[in-house]
Homo-oligomer: 415 residues x 2
């Protein structure tokens, strides 16, 4: 079953707002076994909206339209649909009464504009009558069309709770089943992974894709078919082959992130981590604490952006800073050891480097980074020269630091 997605809004075609909702919808539709033929983004122009909708109805099995359902004058989707499909708008009494109740209790909107939300094309069924979210469904020529608000969290809620179940019921047994695995790899070039995977005798129905998703490479394996048991079995079998071949080069799968994987390993080993950051300025701490429950393995850290903080909070000797500079192996060592001793952590990592764009020299160019790891046995420092802009250097440094913790916990040597 094929669908098209039409996103509407001048804020999208002028690039003021990035359209994230179409991709979200495509992802969930694909996972539910529906394929997307095309996605379109157009302005609040009735003629264009009507044209895009009619073309889609002529070639696919369902259409999802987002945006332009609000109460203001530039929201023109319903008007355009009414015209294009020759379905006059009529008031939905349930919505109208909800709006009037709302207006009675809160007089700050001009009634006319809000009541506009109750006028829907003939035959429309509201998707979520009890909430304040706009959104409706039309069946036209035997094909379902869904109209959702453009506000991302409302669109997401209605897609998951209303559109996907309705669509699966409508096309019951007629959508494909699909199984997908996304393997996440950091620090290995795409071509190296590609060459290894090519050596495998994977099943014919397996589709492999490589996608650089900074700072990672994602390797996706997709299997689509008529039978859920078959696709699941193929996914499991071929997934094993890929994991066996690539081993710990794969740090995680599907929704796992480097920080969630590191968290899981720390929890399993019952170890606590703390992090001393300079050039990454809090990014590593932030990534680690973005995971709910991270207090079970993460103590915290020090952002020693100024040298004075390296001395006072991490006990880095002034002489080391003077003699070797803040960006040096010696200082990275002292930072990791000082962090570990004072915080009482089992493992501490330290990061010192030059994220740029300023601050580089011939000797230590922008991108120079030292990452230290101290545990009960030893302290090891790695030296890197990353390239990219400030954000990229910070993000690569953070991911590398977390990968060093992962490899340490898995007892893999960092290459």
């Amino acid at each position: 079953m094929l669908g098209e997605i039409i996103a509407i809004g001048n804020e999208l075609t002028s690039g003021r707002i990035t359209n994230t909702t179409s991709g979200f919808a495509a992802h969930h539709l694909f996972e539910a076994g529906f394929d997307i033929y095309a996605m379109h983004t157009i302005g609040d122009t009735p003629a264009l909206i009507g044209e895009a909708l009619n073309r889609a109805l002529g070639r696919v099995d369902f259409v999802l339209v987002t945006g332009g359902l609000g109460p203001t004058d530039d929201d023109l989707t319903t008007e355009a649909v009414s015209e294009a499909l020759n379905r006059p708008t009529m008031p939905n009494l349930e919505i109208l009464s909800l709006i009037r109740k709302h207006l009675d209790s809160n007089g700050d909107h001009p009634p006319g504009s809000l009541e506009k939300l109750a006028w829907l094309p003939e035959g429309a069924e509201t998707l979520s009558p009890k909430t304040k979210m706009a959104g409706y469904q039309l069946i036209h020529g035997g094909k379902p069309i869904f109209f959702l608000p453009g506000i991302p969290h409302q669109m997401r809620t209605l897609l998951i709770e209303q559109v996907l179940p309705r669509l699966s019921t409508w096309y019951k047994g007629r959508q494909l089943t699909s199984a997908q695995r996304v393997y996440k790899i950091f620090g290995k070039p795409e071509s190296e992974i590609n060459n290894k995977v090519k050596e495998l005798a994977l099943s014919d129905d397996v589709e492999i894709g490589y996608y650089p998703v900074f700072p990672d490479v994602h390797l996706s394996m997709t299997i689509r078919g008529d039978n859920e048991n078959t696709t699941d079995l193929l996914a499991r079998k071929n997934g094993h082959l890929i994991r066996d071949k690539l081993g710990t080069a794969i740090y995680g799968q599907d929704r796992e992130t480097m920080e969630s994987v590191v968290g899981g390993l720390l929890l399993k080993e019952n170890k606590f981590l703390s992090v001393a950051e300079s050039c990454t300025g809090g990014l590593i701490n932030h990534l680690l604490t973005s995971i709910a429950g991270s207090s079970a393995y993460f103590l915290g850290g020090v952002i020693s952006y100024a040298n004075s903080m390296k001395t006072s909070y991490l006990g880095v000797n002034d002489n080391l800073l003077e003699r070797y500079g803040a960006v040096s192996e010696k200082v990275a060592t002292a930072m990791a050891q000082g962090m570990r001793e004072r915080s009482g952590a089992d493992i501490s990592i330290s990061v010192t480097g030059i994220a740029g764009p300023g601050g580089g020299s011939d000797d230590k160019p922008v991108g120079t980074v030292f990452i230290g790891l101290a545990n009960e046995d030893k302290t090891v420092v790695h030296h890197f020269i990353f390239s990219g802009n400030r954000y990229e250097i910070q993000r690569l440094t953070a991911q590398t630091a977390l990968d060093i913790v992962r490899r340490n916990l898995l007892e893999i040597n960092h290459n």
Copy 2:
């Protein structure tokens, strides 16, 4: 002058990757005075690619195509274009010799696949022959078509350095001029801003838009016209009216961010900041250090995620933690004061709260946050109950903390 953008790739239509490049291109094209009629995202399917390209050429003045230019078998854009526009592919000798040179020095690619990159549709001109980036231009029926790689940073570079200057030369004097201002507001509802702006007597040509861009609201003012001087003048005049009306509710404009604005104010006052974070886990430090040159006003901070770190690094008394709990006004006060004293900063902020999803209670529900600010005069703590998921609570807390610093430096009371 009107254009269309066509993004190609199965990774986009399956929602595995979010298409951010089309929005980026639309934004820069709009700023340069070009309007986007529609943006399309389609899979690596030659028939669809050709159809989308021909339809666009039939109705707009230029087309931008991204993706599908790589060396692998699923990169089909050039093949599709050659077919659709009836322009056989031929080898570009310059690119071919570059590729052969590269292969001589590095034998890890099968030559056949890389040489594919040198075969372009008849009449194509490469956009950046000296780099390793794919990308070319075709003039077809008097209209320029640009083909760019889908990899975001390559696409962005070629768009800015090659496409925009070429397009402006091609349509010299025929594109509209545009002036746009984006005013950034945090912590005020859209309707309140809307009601205030409505009272203004803005010029007729001014288009106003409101966009919730979490955690901010963006108010955009757009003026388009034939004459650059007129649009600039109108933008300046109406911009003053808006800024006068909204005052310090606007924290920044255009590319400014809360962290860049706070940085600018600190620099102007020659003051140094340090930050003690608990529930935000490093996000505030990270935002501050994402700005190049932040070492001129930012010392660093402590991520006291565990209570033991609040005691040892910030000098928070154990009794306070026991009696009032880590999430309390007393602890926020002690954290801010301890951070300021030990770091030697002029101003320190502290954050302690419950980001969830676990850890809430009847007394202190998820979203409870205390934010403290200590300076030479006093320590003030604000108490908030934010709603949202973990990320949203962390992000709202960080933005609020930075806004508290901004208001302190501007001597505005936090409402």
